[in-house]
Symmetry: C2
Subunit: 111 residues, 2 copies
Amino acid sequence: MTDPCLPECGVARFLTLLNGPWATLIVRELLRGPHRFTELRDSLPGISPHTLTNRLRQFERHGIVTRTTYAEIPPRVEYELTPLGEGLRDVLDAMGDWALAVPDPGAEVTV
Amino acid sequence: MTDPCLPECGVARFLTLLNGPWATLIVRELLRGPHRFTELRDSLPGISPHTLTNRLRQFERHGIVTRTTYAEIPPRVEYELTPLGEGLRDVLDAMGDWALAVPDPGAEVTV
DNA sequence: CAGCATCCTTCATGATACTG
DNA sequence: CAGTATCATGAAGGATGCTG
């Protein structure tokens, strides 16, 4: 894709920052509060540390998430949404509301 | 990704149905009204007919879009959102609202 | 605990050419 | 006009193993 971002299209910007299947799910988990790396990994069944790291780094770069390191033994790192990241709650809520109207994938209508 | 869909997670369902960079942008265009194939292609700079076809077919299968063929010469086909697809307007609006708060990617804060 | 390094797979997409 | 067919690419993701 060369440049799908039509000038006045905020949707495209959202898609650029929350790309990939996991991005939005990570944000969803962080909306419940700050998480340590392992907590996030355990809350997202199937995600690999590789992917989790990549997504979190991208979120940091985009100012959606803050990363706080505590110099302890064992080391502790906490990820937390910035105010900007918190603003995603409305979007995620809208997704959830919409999904309620979606018929179950396997459900067939009895004609 | 094996199964990112946590049981009560409508967000995951949304992501499954609107996957890929183009999906949401196509819906965004259809929210403006019914479109012919060529109209959609021209409204989405950079999209290939291959991709456009694939996305539209998937939307059809998921009940988000209807495809209507008119037996004319030259042939005419119109794509239109179903009520379910129309329901995505709220989600897209939320994305757009959020994006307004995102600092411009290249913009540096003058300290 | 919180990652990083490396290699490999999958999938949406792109490019190009062709048809009813 | 509205696609389909074929081949190729690139980025997200997965698997495994290792480190400060």
